[in-house]
């Protein structure tokens, strides 16, 4: 059965890694959210919405991002939400879970020593909580299922 999948990643490495997971979404109805205008076109990833990037030190910006992400989730009502980071992805998992979505966090492969800060935040909202490093997953109590490298 076709699932509605919302795939969320900030611009840069997070987005590149998400793009490398696209084969897992094939045959489903996929929408993307990222933070950098132009990126979806560059990767032919559509439909896509742009929300502003934010971090934990920017409360107003973060709140605006949260509103935009919530709006996207209410419009789309995804069955699955997946993110590789960073904070906007955590927000999407948190809001999506409230509305009944199954949620996936794949921590960025750049975090080879420990779970990223956003990954640690995402833990309580993720049904599937993955690190792309076996030893990081073991230390954090996450699952390791492979890596995009």
């Amino acid at each position: 059965m076709t699932k509605k999948i919302l795939a969320v990643a900030s611009g840069g490495g997070h987005w590149q890694q998400l793009m490398l997971m696209r084969r897992a979404f094939e045959g489903n109805d996929v929408r993307f959210i990222t933070t950098l205008p132009g990126l979806p076109e560059q990767f032919d990833a559509h439909p896509a919405a742009i929300v502003r990037d934010c971090n934990r030190n920017e409360r107003v910006k973060s709140f605006l991002s949260l509103l935009a992400i919530t709006w996207q989730i209410l419009k789309f009502r995804p069955d699955v939400i997946i993110s590789t980071g960073a904070l906007p992805g955590v927000m999407a998992l948190a809001v999506g879970r409230l509305f009944g979505a199954r949620t996936i966090w794949v921590d960025s492969i750049a975090n080879a020593e420990e779970m990223s800060m956003s990954g640690r935040l995402a833990r309580r909202f993720a049904h599937l909580w993955l690190s792309q490093w076996d030893h990081v997953a073991k230390d954090a109590g996450a699952e390791y299922a492979g890596a995009v490298l």
Binding site: A24, A110, A112, E113, H127, L128, L130, G146, A147, L149
Partner: protein
């Protein structure tokens, strides 16, 4: 042309100094993205940062890309099909806040088209090799495993 890139966040003078020494003997241009590095490298075409479209052009045109063991660099070489030499940053030399680049280098060491210079004196030997293979955009076994896990989760969601 050889493109040397170290990411936007930290300088990597050990790599740039090595290239500045090697460049005159190479007989080809060395374009270097040096990051926040105040060093003087007269033998390199050095610039602090490179815009995304220029970065893409350099990756496409370079015979060989040499970088720190950053994930962005590895994924780009994979995407553009370029041979890649990596020199991991060392915590002990103050080049990064920990030794995660050593772990990254070990994790990608066996991928086709990836060559590791564990020390700067290994660079010269790699640069003169004429059998360097490009990285391929093929899925590695660990990559396929991750895709499989995600698919399985999505199917049962």
């Amino acid at each position: 042309m050889i493109f040397v890139t170290v990411g936007t966040q930290l300088a990597f003078p050990r790599l740039m100094e090595a290239f500045d020494t090697l460049a005159p003997g190479l007989g080809e241009d060395v374009v270097a993205q040096v990051g926040p590095d105040t060093g003087n490298y007269p033998n390199l075409k050095a610039q602090p940062n490179v815009a995304p479209d220029e970065f893409e052009r350099l990756f496409t045109e370079a015979r060989l890309v040499v970088g720190h063991a950053g994930v962005g660099t590895i994924l780009s070489a994979k995407r553009f099909g370029t041979p890649l030499v990596l020199m991991p940053r060392r915590h002990a030399l103050g080049e990064h806040r920990n030794d995660h680049q050593l772990a990254t280098a070990k994790a990608v060491e066996k991928l086709p088209g990836v060559y590791i210079a564990w020390q700067a004196d290994e660079l010269a030997g790699l640069l003169v090799r004429d059998d360097l293979k490009p990285m391929t955009n093929d899925e590695s076994p660990t990559h396929s495993a991750l895709i499989g896990r995600l698919k399985a989760f999505i199917e049962t969601a």
